[in-house]
Amino acid sequence: MSAPAIDVPVEAAPVSVPRWAERLLVREPGTPLALFRIGVGLSLLLSLGSVWLHGDVGILWLDPSHGGLSPTSPGWLFHLLGGADLTRIHLVLGATMACGACLVLGLGNRLPAVIALVGYPALVGLQVDAGGSYDSLMGNALWLLVLADSTATLSLDARLRKGSFITGARVPAWPRWLVLYQLVLMYLCTGLQKVSDTWVPGGSLSAIYFIMQQPTWQRGDMHWLAHIFPLTQAATLSVWLFEVGSPLLLLAILLERGQGRVARFLRFIPYRRAWAAFGLSLHLGIWLALEVGCFPILAMSFYAALWAPHDVERARG
């Protein structure tokens, strides 16, 4: 027996949910966010695991009275735990790395991201001068994983809930848009800050050549680049244009579904794939040539957000 109808004047009743609201609340299969989650988990394990494997936990994160390098800046977590001694640091390190493993495996839904978002900054904040932009990117990635339902598929959670590691369960799409926006924002703002004469077009375009020669970051001797200097100049220009022009990716994604000439052109190029190919090559090249920690892997994790599942299906179809 259905609920009794109630007479409501037409002019007082909303006819339907507005289109913008429907678009905001759209749901899609969770594969991109799952891939993002796995990449972030691996990056976290690499970032913290490297400190542990190199024997630097007590050096970087303890103060000199306990055998460490320099006075540390314990945050609220270590104050709550009663101090930043070696035992407590290892406790937080172990818990945070366990959360990294849970992110990789997809266990615990948002909880590992929440715990890691507390533990990771607490650890790296002990010695901020021994960090880099990868720490900022990691914080943002973990927050996005708190916001997202990233264990709907490719996860132990899916196996436990649905009996299969891979499911077609649908999740809110908006966190994926934020992942994409963060990637574009990072590229844009790092590009805009590349105001050195060696970067900006019209100058020597020698930035990548000289960066590769810096002994602090290089994996090995890179003097051989002098013999292919014009290629490094082309790479410098390409990277600068790629970064400064990164907002065009968002525009392309918005426009390519249209019907006009611009949309047809963007589908013909195809802009998204070319952009992703360049970006992934950039990060692979950095990873091969320079030692910059987990940054390349972490940045590449964000690329999972470039395609919605229906884009993949449409490309296959």
Partner: protein
């Protein structure tokens, strides 16, 4: 309701559940929209380029910075903007201060969001190559003779290479090559001295040295003209003092 004519009824029948559902959807969407706007504004204003770390004017005397200033003075001159390097630096310093002040005002409402949710933005990545990079070296003095025991990227001097080779130590070494990180350089020297006092029982002194060389240009490399590294003033530690203290 019975109407007197064939006109459509003045009211419409709608299940209450559907109306309530639509209203709830609208509330959810509105809340989500508000959050998305807040988040995007917060991270965007924080990410906007700003000369963080550049307001210590003493660092501008670094040869790499001076080379940049000269290059831009020349480039601006070609565009018809005639400024000396000093005038350019003075103008940039004023502009940098204003940019930082404006940025700090914009981000101030979002401080807790950055702290609590990890949304801090910091994207100064390889913004300018360091043309006079330093390489860290550690020497110990045994029986009056100095011997190199550690040197960055040197397979023949690998004492503490595992500890000092981690990415986070590389970040530290990059920073201590700048004059405003002298304090950290001293602390690294203290740490190295504590370890050397134990690992080199015959050593009387240890020194931490920053060896600098201007990065050769491609033409210089092709001609085989690799510049010699020049040592900064070393940071020396007396190991007897460290052995007494520990």
């Amino acid at each position: 309701m019975v109407t007197a004519s064939h006109e459509p009824p003045a009211t419409s029948h709608r299940p209450a559940a559907a109306l309530a559902s639509n209203r709830w959807t609208l509330v959810k969407a509105s809340a989500l929209l508000a959050f998305l706007v807040f988040h995007i504004v917060a991270i965007t204003v924080r990410a906007l380029p700003a000369p963080d770390g550049a307001m210590d004017r003493s660092t501008w005397s670094d040869p790499t910075v001076q080379q940049e200033m000269s290059a831009w003075t020349e480039r601006l001159g070609q565009l018809g903007i005639k400024l000396s390097s000093n005038q350019l630096q003075d103008a940039l310093y004023v502009v940098a201060g204003k940019i930082l002040s404006a940025r700090d005002t914009l981000v101030s409402p979002f401080g807790r969001y950055y702290d609590w949710c990890g949304t801090f933005q910091s994207w100064q990545m390889f913004v300018a190559p360091h043309r006079h990079p330093a390489r860290v070296r550690v020497d110990v003095q045994e029986h009056g003779v100095w011997r190199t025991v550690f040197r960055e990227r040197d397979p023949n001097a690998t004492w503490l290479a595992s500890e000092l080779g981690d990415t986070r130590f590389r970040s530290l070494f990059f920073r201590v090559s700048w004059p405003n990180f002298r304090g950290m350089l001293e602390r690294i020297a203290d740490y190295v001295a504590r370890r050397a006092a134990v690992d080199f029982p015959d050593a009387t002194r240890v020194q931490l040295v920053l060896s600098r060389a201007e990065t050769p240009t491609p033409d210089e490399v092709k001609r085989g003209e690799l510049p010699r590294e020049v040592d900064d003033t070393p940071v020396v530690r007396d190991l007897a003092r460290w052995r007494r203290a520990h």
